[in-house]
Each structure stands twice: as structure tokens, then as C-alpha cells.
Symmetry: C2
Subunit: 214 residues, 2 copies
């Protein structure tokens, strides 16, 4: 398809598409004349993902480019490629090394992973932004008067472990590695809001059950 | 305690505390002289919550004030008070009524709640921003090529329902209604990042199990 059709099918204005092409967020189309290029379904899929990253995930353009570089890097194995793409998404929380509670929180996260038998996560450790966000959030929760430890977090982590099997099942049926990584990025940007809203609805339901709807 | 000690114990500069007092985010202390006021542990707890809302939750000051107004509104019952405080937190996704898929997504959300037997959530329906975020995210996921329906979401919602019981258990042991609502707000700002990072770690672990760590 030509640029005009790509714009029509995606709902993204042509000027924005041209900007994404210039910034390397979208691969160039196949040149058909000096001024025209042809785009396929993979371009359309990628364009929708770029828009979701920027509009909904509020990911800055430079971060989005790094995410997509990993999506396209077929020198990497599946797990590293998935992980690296998601690691490039922005993270709000970083551990404060000045805070003496950070070391204690890190010990709890490591103990949690040991209780779970999650050996890959233990080996990766602090390199993972997820490990760091978890450590930082535990310190901030303690700061607010809600101390957390490995034992309190265990039932949550076990349930999320079960859900991760569903998540990977959803990726399994996708054919190419690039489609799998794209789906994992879309999951982080759009499926996480689904889970958070479902969780809050579940809490309201549980609250109404315990305390009535008054 | 005096302002200086409140600042020292919270790590929040006195100028910032004065700003929060002026903006009504923190209740006034008990006047002891014309220029000095006394603050207690409830002020300290509230101050930490305000800082978490603004710094970590990136909640605008006006939204934070509305959240806290519900935290303090003891004319409301527990469930409504919890719900209303969380509803005032910013939401990134709103359903697009121009999009014909929005109506279909809404039907799926309602069907999901019916399958779950979550009658309170069904009664509240579209009034809840959580219902609206869920509807909007389903439409955007379909847009990216990942169609969702009530049946696909059911196992996730069931697990989150189980976790909501743990969440409410954590609130149960808090003495006053205001402490319960404060804890629920802290949960949304800091425990949701815990769950998201645990979920991503669980996914990496599951990926490594299926596809190896290459």
C-alpha cells in the first residue's frame, strides 16, 4: 500500500508517519519510484505499536527507538530479546542507594526469588529494571508505614507466575520472533492497564462483600 | 512536633510542606502560638502519602487534593470512600465513542463481570473509570491485532479476584476508616508497580523455561 492508505488504515496522519520514518521508529517502505514507497502489513502493525508506545505508554521517542531496536534484533535469542525490549521502557522508580533500607529490601527481593525457585531472575538480579523497581517500591512502602517482606509478597508472586504461563501461551501461537516481541511490548503498554483496572474492580467487589455498598 | 521536625522525619523540605498546607493537601497543625503549629503522627503519615502521590504517582496537585478529600470524607461508607478516592487518580485511557468497536468491547466487559458474578461492578458499570479503562484498552489491543474477549480475560480476572482478598486482608487490620483509605491509595501508587515488576519477572522466568536463556 502507499503512504495515503497506510495513514487511512492506521488513523495516523501522513506527516506523523513521515516523522516516525525519519526518526527510525518505522522501517522505510520498498521504493517504487523516486518519491513513492510501498508499505505492507508489517509496516501497519509496527505503526500501530509505535503509536501505542508514544500515545498510551507515554514513551519518549528515543526510548521507543531503543525498544524497537531490540524488537528487530534477530541476533538475540527469544528470552533476551523479549527482556531487553521491555527493559528499555521507562521506569519511574529507582532504588536510593543513600537509603540504608535499600540493602535490606534487596535481600528481601532475592529471598522472594529463592522461595519461588526463580533462578533466572536471581541470576539476572539487579541488572533487571524490574528487580530495581521492586526494591525501590518496597523501600517507599515501608516509608509510608506498609512494610513488605518476601513472605507477604509470595502469594502475589505465585499467582503472577501462573498468569505468566497464560501470557507466554498467547505469544506461542505467533509465528515469527519479531511478532512475539511486538506482542510482549503491546502487552506491557496495553495489557498492564487491563490487569490494573481488573484488579481495582476486584477490590471494589471484595470491599462491597465485606463492608457493604454504602 | 514542630514544622522543622516534621520536615526532618519526612525528608520533605519545609517550603514544600508549607506549599502542601496552603494547597490543602495537608491539614493545618494545631496552633500553639501565632506563628507556630504542632503536628502529629497523622500529619507525618499524610505528608508521606502526598509526596508518594505527587512524586511517584505523578498525580497533579488538583487531582491529589480530590483524592485526599475522599480519604477524609467520613460521611461516606467504606466501599464508596475507597472507590471514590481511587477513581480520582488520573487515568490514561478513555473509550473513544466514535469507534464502533467501543460498544462491542463494553459488551465483553459486561459479559466478563457476569461470568465472574461481580454484581457490584456490573451495577456501577460505566460510572467506574476502571470499567472505562478496561473497555478502552480492549479496543486498542484489537487495533494492534490482539483481540480480547470475556473468555480470554476470565482466568486473569479470577486470579486477581483471589489477590483482592489478600489486599482487603491487609486493610482489615488497620484501625480507622481513614487509615484504610490511605492504605488503598498507597497501594495504587506503590503496590501496583510491585505487581507489574513481579509480573514481568515472572514472564522472563517463564520465557527462559520455554525458550532457554540465549
Amino acid at each position: 500500500m502507499r503512504l495515503a492508505e497506510l495513514s487511512k488504515r492506521s488513523g495516523v496522519p501522513t506527516a506523523t508517519i513521515k516523522y516516525y520514518l525519519r526518526e527510525g521508529l518505522l522501517p522505510q517502505g520498498r521504493k517504487v519510484t523516486a518519491t513513492q514507497a510501498d508499505y505492507d502489513e508489517a509496516h501497519l502493525r509496527r505503526l500501530r505499536l509505535v503509536r501505542a508506545l508514544i500515545q498510551i505508554g507515554r514513551v519518549p521517542v528515543a526510548d521507543a527507538r531503543r525498544v524497537l531496536d531490540y524488537v528487530d534484533d534477530d541476533s538475540l535469542g527469544q528470552t533476551i530479546r523479549l527482556g531487553a525490549a521491555l527493559w528499555e521502557l521507562p521506569h519511574e522508580l529507582e532504588p536510593d542507594e543513600e537509603d540504608p533500607r535499600t540493602a535490606a529490601a534487596r535481600v528481601e527481593v532475592d529471598r522472594l526469588l529463592e522461595l519461588l525457585g526463580w533462578t533466572t531472575a536471581r541470576d539476572i538480579g539487579e541488572l533487571s529494571p524490574n528487580f530495581r523497581v521492586l526494591t525501590a517500591a518496597i523501600v517507599r512502602l515501608a516509608d509510608l508505614g506498609y512494610p513488605m517482606d518476601a513472605d507477604k509478597l509470595l502469594p502475589y508472586a505465585e499467582q503472577l507466575g501462573r498468569l505468566a504461563a497464560f501470557d507466554m501461551d498467547r505469544l506461542e501461537h505467533l509465528e515469527t520472533p519479531v511478532e512475539k516481541v511486538e506482542a510482549a511490548v503491546a502487552d506491557a503498554v496495553l495489557f498492564e492497564p487491563v490487569l490494573i483496572s481488573l484488579r481495582r474492580i476486584a477490590q471494589e467487589e471484595e470491599s462491597a462483600r465485606r463492608w457493604g455498598l454504602e
